[in-house]
Symmetry: C2
Subunit: 467 residues, 2 copies
């Protein structure tokens, strides 16, 4: 809003004068013209000693008779604005600050001053203060609220410092992933959301009536499309919403979540694990370095995150079974590993753990079998430490047409919907591998938060799609 503050102000004044004069509290000394630069709080340090304007919301306030402290947030940071009994304010004006409701929108003008004790290290010596819109009583208070109460108000809860921090980390995770892959020559290829067939069975699909073509299904994975794209672009990825109509209510499930799915032509399952551990390590280290403030806000113990560097420990499914048996889990060969099992195995490791070579019978139809033990597949699950469970599932894909045809039949998948996918094995088939990384699980782990529903701006669960 550089240069046009007065325009905005006049609009608001007009609206306010008409309809809501009764709730307005004007606390301004010299309305007049404003030629001060509008500054975002994160940039305040560059304006030390200068007069600026900050536009934001009142996050907190306290005052004695002689001085009032107003904590202002503008989405980029928090800044304390200080008003003294003196040249610009008198005791009556200071008192009137008490009437300004929290989360009201405000415009504050004053001089930026170094102040070690203030959040962010700078404060604003107030000269003018204008209330743009006086908030109604804000429903989210400092006290504890239930998660349901907060989720029902997710549109407001986003303003709180912890939620703000989690979603800033999420932003960092997404951007670091893009940068890592782009630097390595990957092309972003968006897979479709509306798809004619299921990648991993139909039980957990959302179905959408689609014109005269019957039904479409919301994508559970872009992988099959990424395989096609890998044959055209070599190295590709998608980063997009994904849907699972599972009736799961665990803290690790959302019905709508974002997934990264890279796919590389001429890459085997070992190349695949190497890419995964490099990517995961890089993103974690970038978050540690560049989102330090956010992790501090969240009180994240970062000692284990600092250890995240390649290579990650690798064990086979069968080795994982041995660990589980020692821990007296009632599990036998051929059983899949659930969240509890993953946690139990990963407890023995202080870094993300690869478990590879699962039984083909518990995994998806497209996974390449091991040549020597064809009952096992060339897959990997990457288990985060600290009980955060599977954050990646990956595999080498079947490159042989006849074997893939056989698998489709065994899994009773509708062959006509997969003809195009079979084509990839007809025209220059190559070994290729890829994986899926759940953005919210990853973010929840890095942030150290318990439930992934806080790692997405507007979570969708089986009992929630509001707001």
């Amino acid at each position: 809003m550089r240069g046009s503050s007065s325009h905005v102000l006049s609009l608001l004044e007009e609206a306010e004068n008409k309809e809501r004069k009764h709730i307005m509290v004007h606390v301004m000394d010299s309305p007049g013209e404003n030629h001060l630069p509008r500054v975002y709080i994160q940039d305040a340090s560059g304006h030390e000693g200068k007069e600026v304007e900050v536009q934001g919301w009142l996050a907190n306030k306290r005052s004695s008779g002689k001085v009032a402290f107003l904590l202002i947030r503008d989405g980029t940071g928090l800044m304390q604005a200080t008003a003294f009994d003196g040249d610009y304010f008198n005791r009556d004006k200071l008192k009137s600050f008490k009437a300004v409701p929290l989360e009201s929108s405000v415009i504050a003008r004053g001089k930026v001053k170094r102040e070690e004790r203030a959040p962010g290290g700078y404060e604003l010596e107030l000269r003018d203060f204008r209330l743009l819109h006086a908030a109604e009583e804000y429903p989210i208070q400092k006290k504890e609220h239930s998660v349901d109460f907060l989720m029902e108000r997710r549109h407001l809860w986003l303003r709180s410092s912890s939620q703000h921090a989690v979603l800033r980390v999420r932003n960092r995770v997404m951007m670091t992933i893009h940068a890592f892959l782009q630097e390595r020559g990957f092309t972003l290829i968006d897979s479709p959301i509306l798809t004619p067939a299921a990648c991993e069975g139909t039980a957990s699909l959302f179905e959408v009536p689609y014109f005269d073509l019957g039904h479409a299904y919301l994508s559970q994975s872009g992988q099959l499309y990424m395989e096609a794209a890998a044959m055209a672009f070599g190295k590709v990825y998608c980063l997009a919403p994904t849907f699972r109509a599972e009736k799961s209510k665990t803290r690790r499930h959302l019905t709508e979540f974002w997934m990264l799915e890279p796919e590389v032509a001429f890459a085997d399952w070992v190349d695949n694990m190497e890419l995964q551990e490099k990517l995961v390590s890089h993103v974690v280290q970038e978050v540690l370095e560049k989102s330090r403030e956010e992790l501090e806000t969240l009180g994240r113990d970062t000692r284990l995150l600092e250890k995240v560097s390649p290579p990650f420990p690798r064990i086979t499914y069968e080795e994982a079974l041995e660990i589980l048996k020692k821990k007296e889990f009632p599990i036998s060969w051929g059983d899949d590993l659930g969240g509890d099992e993953e946690t139990a195995v990963s407890e023995d490791f202080d870094r993300p753990l690869f478990i590879h070579h699962y039984p083909a019978s518990v995994k998806a139809f497209y996974m390449q079998p091991d040549t020597e033990k064809p009952e096992l597949v060339l897959n990997d699950d990457l288990i985060a430490p600290e009980g955060y469970g599977e954050i990646i599932g990956g595999s080498q894909r079947i490159h042989d047409l006849a074997l893939l045809e056989q698998r489709l039949e065994e899994h009773r998948l509708p062959r006509e919907a997969f003809e195009w996918y079979l084509d990839l094995r007809r025209y220059g088939s190559v070994p290729h591998s890829g994986f899926g990384l759940g953005i919210e699980r990853f973010t929840a782990w890095v942030c150290g938060i318990q439930h992934i529903r806080e790692a997405i701006p507007f979570p969708r669960q089986i009992y929630r799609m509001y707001p």
Copy 2:
């Protein structure tokens, strides 16, 4: 696949030996061990004079008796591999190249040599050549195919140089948008796809049964959620798939497309247009500079693109009507502008054109009316030149609770689904603005292609959701 080629090869050999020996053509002199660096074609120039391995697909071939030229693509570029009758190949071997079908996957080894006449400026002096998988007869030939034929084979068509180029430009557009906004302090906040209510009317919504909660609708816009997020983060955007169940078959429509939606708190409609013209200009200039090869492949005339720099011309809706009347369009005040009208108006300008201040009656419920002429709204449409139509729609949003309530009623929208949206006007309301930019329309314009269906990897139209 650095360092693990032999692993991959052994897998393939094994599969091939078992099942498809009959279609294999081995054209290799010294199988033995391979310790050559695997190089992507785009990086070949850095290996001049060195022996390398290239893994890819056979894109074209020609040979005389003494020399064979094999054009190899690996997704990052095209490279000519040349085999001579001499130390490494004899005439019989050269002849056998004729049997290698196009789009077969191959591994080529040889020395990188500067060669002005070759695509990319470098060629590979072949020493070894291995056929990994012999393709069946490739359905896409050099001849003209119908778009339907090609779209039915979209998974293969992606390999052609024109489609490859368009989607590489799309990748550049997306990445440049992210970088532009992130550098300016925007936070990526993903809006939900499954939503409880429609933003712009229910006629064109995809409906999805949602557990015990009735129906969800596929998002037509993340804007309302971006407004909530802007009050928490100041400057936000989403870049995500968007759905319109419109029965439109024009070259400008898809049922699933990607949309960028930035939203800024404390920004008015003028700030909004400034952000749009800066973003659009920056992205176009970046594509011109960094995707030059792709634009050349597409035969794009870039003269008009070079002129794209701020400020863009701005006319009001009423001025647009004047232009249309001069051009004898049968249009009167209060009519919306369709694609034909947009094109006719924009023909008078050689750069993207803002048309602002539309009648409120043809625009969405949330747009802020002009103070002095409340029958008009503070919106803008940005029309691309050369007939590419609207690429952006933006507006300042209503900040006043009472007015927004009134608009919901006038538009007969279900108030209970919008309570959270109304909350944004209860707790520190501020002037705010944003816009939506259609990624595929933008990409189609920059690439100079006629139909936006080629600007998305796997298009969804009312009569197509395969592959």
